[in-house]
């Protein structure tokens, strides 16, 4: 499909058909896939769906030609701003280089899980949206980002269809940046997609509800995108302390707002709500290793997520500044980021790029600290306690982007029974995304969950199944270690849709849970499997 076709009138440009999708490995090779649920007539009348019949953004149509014209102008203004230094000093250089130097060799397409797993639909090629943007910029804008009086060449039309489809298309890429990794000239189509999202949010007020209104806005208002307040967190921490006592037979105090602690530990607040074993396991390990740390309960200091990372530089900066401020006020030596990939990228790589150096304090991944704990010998681990097949998922932001590859593997090798750990193919920096990156794990409106199930999550599910081939008997329990809240959420949803545990015995958890499960001093197993409910 050519770039120009994005502006053609059509009810729907492409259709995802289950028969076009690459087959999953056994025992799912003949699995009867449920197709994407068509939007209801009511939803169709309210939401744009002319890209692929899917609505992630629930975008309303303009009501009259004036409104359409205003939206087109606003889009062009936003694109113009992206291309000028005063408005986009943050990412102008990689954006311009990526727009200028793509040789259209399509090496990136083969690396893109969304393109491959969609049955190779052209519109999902990493180059497709970039090419559309490039053509719009050439036709409508001068070199310095001004809207031209007379448009030049290029038969692409910037009409409402183009804008609506581009908006949805910006949310068909998980920003995993596998495309950028394989590009022979270093073009970053993932970054171009990120910049496209910025036009929609920062200039046009268009973003995903779960990511903006119910995400970063809520985090700035309450302290967490979950809506968790300080009072709620105090209640939760007390509960965690009770629960730890029941599980390990002794009470541990979780330090809160401890001034002058060495470390501020920031979790993704979703862990407290959906996977409380994760912050519990951190508390047990840090206590046993004698680490002088604290949890913060002041605004934004207890939720490491920063959704602005995915779509809006201003929202990003607002949250990042709060994270750093909380750390400064507590006087800690460094921030340690829990098992959350986006928090890693936001608070380390992107904060370094966007915020003045004076505001920064040292930040460290929990992965490296956890390996330091193992190496220190302060905690005794019995690897035979984790005597089941284990594989490891590499969160894109921590592994491909930041290059943290070995510590989590060294930890796993030290805490799992010999021969039980196996890699996925491929893994490390060439891993595949869980399918929930860039906000997808929490975006669930309309029929977007169906798209995630069939397309973006499909590659990782294939890899997970692939790692355990030959051992698919469901009575043999097997574990995916996924040390990232977002990835866990996506993997959980995929496992539920495909009844993976019931069918194959494969389950998922984080890294710290497996570590505590192997601790010699703790009698009862820390990990629970879905078919064994604890007595509560």
């Amino acid at each position: 499909m050519r770039a120009e076709e994005i502006s053609k009138p059509a009810e729907q440009l492409v259709e995802i058909k289950v028969e076009d999708l690459p087959k999953l490995p056994p025992p799912y090779e003949n699995f009867e896939e449920q197709p994407i649920t068509p939007l209801s007539d009511d939803q169709k009348s309210r939401w744009e769906h002319s890209l692929d019949g899917v609505s992630a953004l629930n975008l309303p149509r303009p009501q009259n030609p004036e409104e359409e014209k205003a939206l087109i102008e606003s889009f062009l203004r936003g694109l113009g701003k992206l291309l000028t230094k005063e408005n986009n000093w943050t990412f102008l250089q990689p954006l311009s280089l990526s727009l200028e130097y793509c040789a259209k060799c399509q090496t990136c397409a083969d690396a893109c899980p969304a393109f491959e797993m969609s049955g190779r639909k052209d519109i999902y090629r990493p180059t497709y949206r970039s090419d559309v943007l490039r053509k719009i910029a050439k036709k409508y804008l001068s070199k310095n980002g001004k809207i031209l009086a007379a448009f030049r060449g290029h038969d692409i039309d910037l009409n409402w269809e183009t804008i609506a489809r581009l908006a949805e298309l910006a949310y068909r890429c998980t920003l995993c940046r596998r495309c950028a990794q394989v590009c022979p000239v270093g073009v970053d189509n993932g970054l171009i997609n990120h910049e496209l999202r910025k036009i929609f949010s920062m200039e046009m007020g268009i973003s995903a509800l779960e990511v903006h209104d119910k995400g970063s806005v809520k985090q700035l208002q309450f302290g967490s995108s979950t809506g968790m307040t300080k009072a709620a967190l105090h209640d939760i921490i007390e509960y965690l302390e009770d629960d730890i006592e029941e599980k390990i037979g002794r009470r541990i105090s979780i330090p809160i707002n401890k001034k002058g602690a060495d470390i501020l530990l920031i979790h993704n607040a979703g862990e407290f709500m959906a996977w409380p074993e994760n912050p519990m396991a951190f508390a047990i390990l840090f206590d046993a290793a004698g680490i002088n740390y604290t949890i913060a309960t002041d605004l934004a200091g207890y939720d490491g997520v920063n959704y602005g990372l995915w779509y809006d530089d201003v929202q990003f900066a607002r949250v990042a500044i709060q994270h750093l401020q909380v750390a400064k006020e507590l006087g800690v030596k460094k921030i340690v980021i829990g098992e959350c990939g986006h928090a890693h990228k936001a608070l380390s790589v992107i904060a370094d790029r966007l915020l003045p150096g004076a505001q920064l304090i040292p930040r460290e991944s929990s992965y490296t600290l956890l390996w330091d704990i193992v190496k220190s010998g302060k905690i005794k681990f019995d690897p035979s306690k984790n005597d089941f097949p284990v594989t490891l998922h590499d969160p894109c932001n921590i592994v491909r982007l930041m290059g943290v590859v070995k510590p989590q593997r060294d930890v796993l090798k030290a805490i799992t029974a010999p021969g039980r750990f196996r890699e996925m193919t491929p893994h490390g920096v060439t891993n595949y995304c869980c399918g929930g990156g860039s906000g997808f794990a929490i975006m669930s409106s309309g029929n977007f969950p169906d798209w995630k199930r069939l397309v973006s999550g499909r590659k990782k599910l294939s890899q997970i199944l692939g790692a355990f081939q030959g051992e698919m008997d469901p009575s043999v329990r097997k574990m995916v270690c996924a040390p990232c809240s977002n990835c866990k959420g996506m993997i959980r949803d995929m496992m539920q849709s495909y009844e993976v545990f019931e069918t194959t015995g494969i389950w998922y958890t984080g890294l710290v849970e497996l570590m505590v499960n192997a601790m010699v001093d703790i009698e009862k197993p820390f990990i629970t499997w879905p078919d064994e409910e604890e007595d509560m």
Binding site: D42, N58, E210, K214, G215, K218, Q219, F222, S224, S225, T226, G227, M228, T229, A231, A232, D235, I236, Y239, D243, N268, A269, G270, E271, F272, M273, A274, P276, D303, V305, C340, A441, I442, S444, S445, G446, S485, N486, G489, E533, M536
Partner: protein
């Protein structure tokens, strides 16, 4: 904004059928929303969960974590699924008039 009509009453709901304005909730509303979940009659056990969720939400602005619901009501997760077939988050919270959970959960 979608609306949901149950037995002649109309409610504004979000795209997933959660009550838009939590202040409109009362026991009558709970009974009506229960019907959309396929629960014909709310028993004492249902009410125990519903009131627990409701009170927690009013105090803390969020739904309680599922482990805590089980612990404080004394019901195992399996039992909660028997009471509310679509589960604690989608089923029980909806009947209790809580908004849909947000964030990385």
């Amino acid at each position: 904004m979608p609306t949901l009509e149950i037995e002649g009453r109309t409610f504004e709901v979000d795209e997933d059928g959660f009550l838009q304005d939590p202040d409109l909730w009362n026991e009558e509303v709970a009974k009506l929303f229960a019907k959309t979940e396929g629960i014909q009659e709310l028993t004492d056990e249902h009410w125990k969960v519903v009131h627990y969720l409701r009170n927690y939400y009013l105090e803390f602005n969020i739904a309680p974590m599922i482990r805590k619901v089980c612990k404080d009501t004394g019901f195992k997760l399996k039992k909660i699924y028997e009471l509310f077939p679509s589960g604690p988050a989608k089923g029980a919270c909806k009947v209790a008039g809580l908004p849909k959970p947000t964030g990385c959960v």
